[in-house]
């Protein structure tokens, strides 16, 4: 199947090699669990002496010091490093998990713990395949539409979410993360698709889905997730350009609010509502 130019670029730019890398881009010492972005390059330091360097055109180089936790490496590569590579190449990573239906992507966003992964996994039981987990990368190169790149991360679920969703559990994510990889019940979609709707998850006593209109769409796009910080650092928009960027997204992305109780006994009720919403013509 043909892959989009953005997908091919990401495949090329996220190719990993191993070797020594500089331990700072700016000259300032880089603390553990922090990053620097400078002149088209990105340097991340994980725990201990575990460094990840990306330079445009050169791909990613990983330096594993003696105390590097290798079990965390794929999490860094698929998390901050992938989002930084996307951002430095004009793509927009957002904090969302998504399913696909009828050639469009329906993405669910919310803070950590809002239930994004659990919801998209459970939508698999309603015949909706997974599109991505945790990070959705948007290709904005066509001014007329917003296209989503298929997910690059494996679905991760907490132990209690495995039973709720019907996903098939796989190995533990890492020594320190209390999640398992999982296979969604209806499989995954691996092709780029236009974005159908961005749906924000909130907790309320009764399940409901309501459209978001007007200025609130723009407000909703102001995110403080690490993906947004990486994009801001890469693009270096001034206020006017940042506003124009958000306004374009607000105009082109249909949005809704999905409210439901975070109550295991009513979980299926909320999932069924979301499934009907996604499947409606």
């Amino acid at each position: 199947m043909d892959r989009s130019a953005a997908e091919l670029m990401m495949q090329r730019e996220t190719a990993v090699q191993y070797g020594p890398v500089p331990h700072s881009l700016s000259g300032e010492p880089l603390a553990e669990m922090s990053w620097q972005m400078l002149g088209g390059a990105f340097l991340l330091r994980g725990e201990g002496e575990h460094y990840f360097l990306y330079r445009k055109g050169d791909g990613v180089t990983v330096e594993r010091g003696p105390d590097a936790d290798v079990s965390e490496e794929s999490l860094w590569l698929n998390g901050s490093v992938y989002a930084a590579v996307a951002s430095l190449n004009g793509l927009l990573p957002i904090h969302a998990s998504a399913v696909a239906h009828d050639g469009r992507v329906f993405a669910f966003s919310g803070p950590a713990g809002a239930g994004k992964s659990t919801l998209v996994a459970a939508l698999g039981r309603h015949g909706l395949p997974l599109f991505c987990d945790d990070t959705l990368v948007l290709d904005l190169s066509d001014p007329e539409r917003i296209v989503c790149l298929p997910g690059h991360k494996r679905l991760k679920l907490r132990p209690d979410a495995i039973g709720l969703t019907g996903a098939m559990p796989q190995e533990k994510v890492s020594k320190t993360v209390d999640k398992h990889y999982a296979l969604p019940a209806t499989g995954e979609v691996g092709v780029a698709l236009p974005l159908g709707e961005l749906i924000f998850l909130e907790e309320r006593p009764e399940p409901a889905i309501m459209p978001i209109t007007g200025a609130e769409r723009l407000v909703r796009l102001q995110d403080d997730h690490y993906t947004a910080r990486l994009f801001d650092s890469a693009r270096k928009f001034d206020r006017a350009a940042q506003f124009a960027h958000l306004a374009r997204l607000a105009r082109q992305i249909a949005m809704a609010r999905f409210v439901r109780p975070l109550d295991r006994d009513r979980f299926d009720e909320g999932v069924a509502l979301a499934a009907r919403h996604v499947a409606q013509p």
Binding site: G214, A247, A250, R251
Partner: protein, 92 residues
Amino acid sequence: MIVTAMAALAKRTDRFSEADIDEEIVVMMLDTGQFFSLSGTSAAIWRLIDGQRDRAAVLASLTGAFHGEEQAVTKDLDEFLATLREMGLLVD
């Protein structure tokens, strides 16, 4: 400064960015990054401030658009113009 009744109303376009989103106009102040949204009468007034129309022309257009509720429209117009002047968004 005295603004005459015949002076055309013009926005300080160097001080804001704006975008139409659905039926609303979102305006962002470039000096602070804060933004606000306009709808209904205020959005209609904002659109009519084009550097050509003076207050009377804006009022006439509004009165036509809002079916002759002149007293209420006049109040809305003057209050909104005062707010825009306070915010430094109108050319003096």
